[in-house]
Every structure is written in structure tokens, then in C-alpha cells.
Symmetry: C2
Subunit: 338 residues, 2 copies
């Protein structure tokens, strides 16, 4: 059994580069009592990881240089020395980017039921990104029936779920995205009321106002920058902004600027903005997961997966996030044979 | 009896100019049944009025060109045709900038008890600016004992009260202001723990960090722009920003810019920012006024007044707000004889 791992070898400057990563052979540790050996099946690549590649203060420790990266993963148990797991079980957790991991069989390992949903959904619509969408939208955005919800990064892993939940809650939903394919996906397949192309910069303000004739009550922001500025100017009094991500600017080498008028608008319209990460709401994970699973089983929410084949292509998949190439959840699948 | 009123004759561009205002003779209306005639004693000049001088959408209608301005005022009843008021009563309300106003004797007229506090306090520490300080700080900032509260515009009408309340609530309090006199006032007279000179731009970040060794938990913002940016970078996880004003930028003719990194900081530290105006909390005015009055009577909070003499100097007093000349509450006093 050959094992491999993917290391961070440089802190990226600007857009990450394949040379910032290295793939290396490594050992498969022995499986002690209470441990399980997991073969990696899916790796999740997520924008927040970019933050961990720098040394800046953040909510999680930075990745270490020369050490394997880690993230959300789905695997299959190959060998179990725990009564709680059997060979063949599908499991999800947060592990090192390796083909094989030996981990303690504790509550950080979630057993999946592949008869209820494909295991890959544990990294997307029924996993961290689904929880992020549900909890940020409901706990901070607090959307009311009839209100207008705008979401940026609308065709992405989080945004696509935000929009569908907002529709289920009775809102008018407007998504902002950047390709014809994405705009068609959110409007025609997911049922958003309107889809706006942010690349049409010249008409962005006008298009937002046209899509939101009653103004914007909730803006779920994954992107930041000039897109956010345009949405904020269309917001109603007492509007809310769950601030989830700023992907437009994660690779800036020189900070972009935003007009100070945004802050003046916050005062005059009494807008509330709140940054969050999903683990702030850990006490509501059960409620959120139950709601998502129920809607998923009933066919009321869904999500495309963009799947890159091959463990060795994980760095490239990650870099692709910042080119806006993926629709829905971006995953890497590792075939069975090494 | 001669009356005068002050009209807005131009919408200011940038810093307001004396020529944007005009003082004019006008009639004293007759006093009908249920009305009272009030002689203006104090006029309040407040930064938010700058917003009403433009036509931009805001929470109050813009002032009309060729019409008198209006604002918070304290007056003395000269003639009453209402059973609720007597000649000689001190009253406060929101009226036109005139030497004499005839107004309906309804609940919008507050009778003052000059034995409890000087009538001018109804425009400052026990009036709208005191309520703004109390309600923004407690309802949005939610400061806890031992936390660090930073306030910008710290020597002003609102900021000086914010800091004193935060001290009473058991917080470490750091004020930001722009003159030696103001810094001495907040630290030596009002008991703030530290006072920072924002004009020392070069050391602003360093000085904030030094004054807040445990980071910033609440930032009550009256000012905006680069001062806010510097404070935000020193904020703790789950910090709160009651966003009250942006006086640094009310007269911008070209919008200033702020680094987009501010928004990234909002996400990673899960900061909550909320714009507000005092009337959003109208249901808590009673509670707030009672708390302020109790502290005031007990000598636990106080406020300097900067007083400009003469009705005709009201525009000049207003313009002075933006030169940062006032300490505490800036008022215009109208002598008895015309």
C-alpha cells in the first residue's frame, strides 16, 4: 500500500501557484487499538483555505510550511480497530491531504449512510458549506417572507444553497455570478428569481435595482469589493448582511479600496453587517443538518458537483476556485487504485 | 416683537459656507387655542444636519431650499393658550430656527424642570445626544465589565457621554480625539483610561494597540474613515461596532476610500457592525433618560458645553462642528432682548 501526501512548501503571494505545493510519498501508520485506517475518496477544496496559507491572524492556525495541508474529506474505512466502525463504512471528517489516514475513532469521524445521500454531499449541501448557507442566512440574515435576498457567489457551494433556502422561506431571490452558464444554472435549474452578471460592471448598479424593485433586505456576501458596494447602495432600512467570504480579494497583493460612502449608507439605512464562520453556530448544527436533510430528501434543494479526478490534482482544483470555474461544490475524487 | 428665521438658500458643496444660509425677518403668528408661543433660548447644532442639507436619500427628509432649517431647541414659553403650559416654562423640542415659534402644545413639546438640571442639558447629556450615546452603546455595543471600549469623536457631544457610561459599566475606555485640550478633557476630567490623538497618523495603529493591550471589544464610531480602519484592525473576535456617525466624511466632495481588508477582518474576527439613529430605540427612551438623569443627579456623568452667543451666529456655529472646535455639546444661546 503506497501512501502520498500534499505539502504546502511556500506561502503563496497573490494567486496560489502549483509550485507552492508538493506531492510526496509517505508511510501508512500502523492501526492501533481505537483507530481506523481511511482511504480518501473525496477531498473538499474551499476558499477559506487560502487564508490558512498566509501567516495572518485568523480563526484557525495557518498551515505549516513543509507539512501536509488538511481539509474536509470523505473516505472509506479500510481497516478498523474500533467497535464503532467497520471496513467499508463511509466516513467524513477533517484530515490531512493524504491518500490514507489513520485517525482516532472518535466523534470527529462522522459515519455516513450512503443509502440516504451520496457520500460526497457530506462535503457540500449536507456538509460544512450547506451548514454555512443555512446558519448564516437564518441566524444573521433573518429573512422574512416577501423580503428580497441577494447572494453573491450565487452559483458556488454556499451561494447556491443560500438562494434555494431563501426561496423555501418565501423570499424573492437574486443571485450574482460571472458566467452565462452559472446564471442559467441558478435561474433555470435552482429557481432563483433573477440572476445578475457581475462582469457587466457598467450596468451592475442598474441591474441590481431592476432585479430588486423593492430594495434589498438581506445580502449574503461571499465575494466582497465592488459587487458588495453596488448591492449595499440598493439596501433597505434595517437590512442585514451575513458576511461569509471575500473571495474577490483573497489573493490581493495590494489591498483594493472601497468607497467610504458605504459606511455612511450603513448609518442612514441602519444596516447590520456581521462576519461569521460556521463553527460560531455549532450549537445549531443539529437543527441545520436536519432541515437540510429533510429538504434534500424531498428534492427541494440540490447542488451540482464539479469533480476533478485524481489526488495529485488537488492543488490545481484549489487554484481553480479563484478562477471561478466551478459550479456548485468543487471536489476532488480519488480513484480506488493507486 | 420682531422675529427672525434662518433659511437654507443653497445646498452646500463640501464644507458648508455662511453664504448657504440667510437670516430674514418674519412674522410672529397669532397664538390660537391649544398653541404656545416659545422664545428660543438655545439652539442645538448637530453633525447629522449636514446630511439633511443634501438631497440624498436618508432617514429624514432633506431641508428645503428657501425654507427655515430646524433642529433641537430649548425655549421659554412667552404666551400659552394651553392648560398644560404657563408663561415662563422651559420647554424642549424640534422646531424651526426662529427667534419665536408658535407650536401646538402636544406631546412633542417636553416641559423641563430647571431645578433638576439646567435647561441646556435637554439638548445634550439629557437630550438627544445623551440618548444616542446610551442606546447605541448598550443596545448595539452591549459592553461587558472588563471589556475595552474605544470611542471616536470622544470629546464631542455623543462621544464624551459614551465613554463615561462605558466606565460606569466597568469597561476600560479609550477615547480618540484631535487636540491636546480635548485629550486632556476626556482623560483628566471625564476619567477615560487613555486618550489618543488621531492627528498623529503615523503612530495611530501603534497607539491604539498600546492603549488596548487586550484588544478592542466595542468601537463606538462617530467619525469613520482611516481612524475606524485603524481601530478595526485591533478588534477582538466577536467585537461590536455601533455606527453612529461619519463626521470625517460628511463634507467629502469625492468619496474617500477605505481598504477592503477591513471587510476581510470582519469575517475572520466575526465583527458585527450596525448603523443606527436614536429614534430606532424610541421604545427605550424612558429607560435611557431615567438612567442618564440618575447618573447626572449623582454627579457621575457630566458634559462641557461650548456656547456661541447670538441667534445670528447659528450657521457659523454649525460650520464650526466640522472644524472640530467644540468640546462637549455645541450650543447657540439667544439673549433675551432682540
Amino acid at each position: 500500500m503506497t501512501n502520498q501526501e500534499i505539502l504546502l512548501v511556500n506561502r503563496p503571494v497573490g494567486l496560489p501557484n502549483p509550485d507552492d505545493f508538493e506531492i510526496k510519498e509517505c508511510e501508512v501508520p500502523t492501526v492501533d487499538d481505537g483507530y481506523i485506517l481511511i482511504r480518501t475518496v473525496y477531498l473538499s477544496v474551499d476558499p477559506y483555505m487560502r487564508g490558512r496559507m498566509t501567516e495572518a491572524r485568523s480563526y484557525v492556525a495557518p498551515f505549516e510550511i513543509g507539512k501536509p495541508l488538511n481539509g474536509g474529506m470523505v473516505g472509506q474505512v479500510v481497516e478498523s480497530r474500533s467497535p464503532d466502525f467497520q471496513a467499508g463504512d463511509y466516513v467524513a471528517g477533517q484530515w490531512a491531504w493524504r491518500r490514507y489516514n489513520v485517525v482516532k475513532a472518535d466523534k470527529r469521524v462522522s459515519k455516513l449512510n450512503p443509502n440516504l445521500a451520496p457520500p460526497s454531499t457530506a462535503l457540500g449541501i449536507l456538509g460544512m458549506t450547506g451548514l454555512t448557507a443555512y446558519l448564516g442566512l437564518t441566524k444573521i440574515g433573518n429573512p422574512q417572507p416577501g423580503e428580497t435576498v441577494v447572494v453573491s457567489g450565487a452559483a458556488g457551494a454556499v451561494g447556491s444553497v443560500v438562494g434555494q433556502i431563501a426561496k423555501l422561506l418565501g423570499c424573492r431571490v437574486v443571485g450574482i455570478a460571472g458566467t452565462k452558464e452559472k446564471l442559467a444554472y441558478i435561474k433555470d435549474e435552482l429557481g432563483f428569481d433573477e440572476a445578475i452578471d457581475y462582469k457587466d460592471r457598467e450596468n451592475l448598479h442598474k441591474n441590481i435595482r431592476a432585479a430588486c424593485p423593492n430594495g434589498v433586505d438581506v445580502y449574503f456576501d461571499n465575494v466582497g469589493g465592488s459587487i458588495s458596494e453596488a448591492v449595499i447602495y440598493a439596501m433597505n432600512d434595517f437590512a442585514r448582511i451575513p458576511l461569509c467570504g471575500q473571495i474577490a480579494h483573497y489573493n490581493d497583493t495590494k489591498p483594493a479600496q472601497i468607497s467610504i460612502n458605504v459606511f455612511h449608507t450603513f448609518v442612514t439605512r441602519r444596516i447590520r453587517m456581521q462576519g461569521f464562520i460556521v463553527s460560531d453556530f455549532v450549537e445549531s448544527f443539529g437543527e441545520a443538518h436536519a432541515a437540510l436533510a429533510k429538504w434534500y430528501q424531498a428534492g427541494k434543494i440540490r447542488q451540482k458537483e464539479t469533480i476533478i479526478e485524481g489526488f495529485e490534482n488537488t492543488p490545481e482544483a484549489f487554484i481553480g476556485l479563484f478562477h471561478g470555474e466551478n459550479i456548485g461544490k468543487l471536489l476532488v475524487r480519488v480513484p480506488d487504485e493507486v
